[in-house]
Symmetry: C2
């Protein structure tokens, strides 16, 4: 291994400069405030967890976990999501808290990646978990909150696709008994949205014609509430039927929330996470090819931590949303430069303090010798001819106060 | 190794429940806003860095670094402070940016710890770096900002002790030539604030009487500006004299900031960090035995990243401050519970939306069957007799709106 160069950072690691941090903080604050207004309270958990507890319970494949050893030789992981750590907290520190529990988080998570272009090993998620409520109302609440959260983040055009793992499981169970391998292949096609491959594999199985038609039919099960009716007719399997009824009830609740315009049903959708047990959903923004949110019901996770309970939730892919939205924070920012010399120092600091306390202004003070003062004056004079901003030492100031400390009254206004 | 139990988290790792998160977020937001108003712009860097770059340059001793291997077998570290990562960014992404650069951060950092009671392996720091300005004005600015930041965090009674590594280095260089080991021992005593041990070791050296007196004299060099005058007389060493003159000039600037009541000079102070090159300081809160802030000048770090520049900065020990301050956020919090059934669902959601949009209220909606509704009514009736708060499923609500969906007009007000 050659040594990394001094300016290098690890592959998949990212620095955020002030402008990006400003946007990220804006999304974080707006989304967390939205979640809070729905009764979700924020928690934080450690970056490192035991591999044998949270690592094993997480939905991330083992090879994508960052592992390290502590002093005692125990294997730790960097958290790969927040759902498993929150399940641990619900079962330990919060074990006396009554259900339903509404919890939110904003957190960085880690995935060990191959060196693919643009993939990040550390990224931010902002999400909620609603623990202890198995009802369609609870699932609809998290979907409605996902919609409100995307709006709070500034994402304008998006669609939430809702599916249910029980529908495909039930349908395949009914029609593909004994075709275990084929079932996995078909699911892999759906996961990859490879519908051509799905049809080809299906035909290669030479199934009875009605079954063939039934399994081809699911590719059309994407749309509005009418999809539920079609799906109920497609399969008589009890698991599939119960799943569809759950989605129908969710749809009624989502209509009451007034958010159906943002929602579609997509029964071809297979959650990427092995641990989803019911409804799953993904949020797509108009201008991006990958999800900006995903979530679903995971009723089997909590019992791994000793407190069995149904649960549902979602996370926004905050780092992706950051790339999607603009911001206008720098437009409203007021930057003031105060130059001074020793004689005017106290007055300059007093004025800076007054401005910082009485407004949102950003005030930078700088001791200026004669040369620096000439530079500042030249920059201010130049600004009068251009956009009114004073560029001083590479930083743009909207206001350049009269110099503090001279008796000649020099200095530049605006 | 026995397996950790499912509810366990690693030693030194901490969960923050909603109340603690609320306080931590409040400190974070107030302090970052304060730093921003002084012109410091926030940056974020990755949790993992290369051991050979940031790991080696950091001030943390090697055995306290958390290390892990990436896919290619390169050693990574979890950042142990933010100063070295920021130096890397200043020398790479920001290499075209003009000095002085004012940067701020709020970040978790990691230290591998022995299993001592109460020590944390991951904790938060909020701080600034002022890069490219070697003047006493710059050092005074970061001290004044540390004071403003502690006040913004809600710390009411505190003291900043300022020292200078050049003073002791100069003094020892002059008086202890050839006593290398003794010098290290004496410094260790000062670092541990073991003044009795310092005197004992000093006497054991059997130095000439004037030197003995000179080295004992530094124990008295703690106080206000008068200490500078005493120190100037104590040692004629050029390094020591230059250090003291720098502190004198800083004091003048701090007086202009109007913050001298919070500041003392302590020339016995030795920065814990090997890389400080000039002024160092520590902030002590009235009720805590350990520092809540520390900082200083580190003029040799940036050149390790290929862009030599003087720099000064500090970090608040945010996690410690959290333990120190109270908060009143829960007092002003308005929590509203809205019960509904299917018939009243849409009206209930509309009302929830209206309340969330038009106020800071936290609104929880819950579908209630007859039994749940009786529970809620009982809780509300009980509240009328007690403190006016409705305790429902373990959560305290200030307001319980009339039930949505019944025609009998039931439900409980306030």
């Amino acid at each position: 291994m050659s040594k990394p160069k001094v300016f290098e950072k690890p592959i998949g690691a990212k620095d955020y400069l002030p402008h990006a941090v400003g946007k990220l903080r804006q999304i974080e604050n707006e989304v967390l405030a939205c979640m809070r207004s729905w009764g979700y309270e924020q928690i934080m958990t450690p970056t490192m967890e035991y591999y044998d507890t949270v690592g094993v319970a997480s939905a991330t494949s083992d090879r994508k976990l960052f592992k390290l050893l502590n002093n005692r030789g125990t294997t730790l992981v960097l958290r790969s999501d927040m759902t498993a750590p929150i399940a641990r907290v619900v079962s330990s520190l919060l074990k006396e808290a009554q259900f339903p529990l509404r919890l939110s988080y904003h957190s960085n998570v880690f995935r060990s990646i191959e060196e693919e272009a643009g993939r990040e090993a550390e990224f931010f998620q902002t999400g909620v978990e609603l623990v202890g409520d198995a009802s369609p109302e609870a699932d609809a609440e998290v979907v409605a909150l996902a919609i409100a959260s995307l709006q709070a983040a500034g994402v304008e055009r998006f669609k939430i696709a809702i599916g249910h793992v029980g529908f495909l499981n039930g349908l395949f169970e009914e029609t593909l008994e004994g075709y275990g391998e084929a079932e996995e292949e078909l699911k892999a096609c759906l996961l990859g949205r490879d519908y051509v491959g799905y049809r080809e594999r299906l035909r290669a199985l030479s199934l009875a014609e009605p079954i063939q038609r039934e399994l081809e039919g699911i590719l059309r099960l994407r749309g509005g509430q009418e999809i539920c009716d079609q799906a109920l007719q497609l399969s008589a399997n009890a698991t599939a039927q119960a799943s569809i009824r759950h989605l129908c009830e969710m749809w009624d609740v989502l209509r009451a929330y007034g958010v159906c315009e943002h929602v579609m049903i997509d029964l071809t959708m297979i959650g990427d996470f092995g641990y989803y047990t019911g409804m799953t959903f993904e949020g797509y923004a108009a201008d991006l090819g990958f999800p900006v949110a995903n979530g679903g019901r995971y009723d089997n996770l909590l019992k791994q931590f000793g407190r069995p309970a149904p649960a549902t939730g979602f996370s926004l892919k905050t780092t992706r949303i950051l790339e999607l939205i603009g911001d206008d924070s720098s437009l409203t920012e007021q930057r003031i430069l105060i130059g001074y010399n020793a004689a005017g120092r106290e007055a300059a600091f007093d004025e800076a303090l007054r401005l910082r306390d009485s407004s949102d202004a950003i005030v930078v003070t700088e001791k200026m010798d004669a040369a620096a003062r000439l530079d500042a004056l030249a920059a201010a004079a130049l600004a009068l001819d251009t956009d009114g901003k004073v560029l001083y030492k590479g930083v743009s100031f909207g206001t350049f106060l009269p110099f503090f400390g001279e008796h000649d009254g020099g200095g530049a206004g605006q």
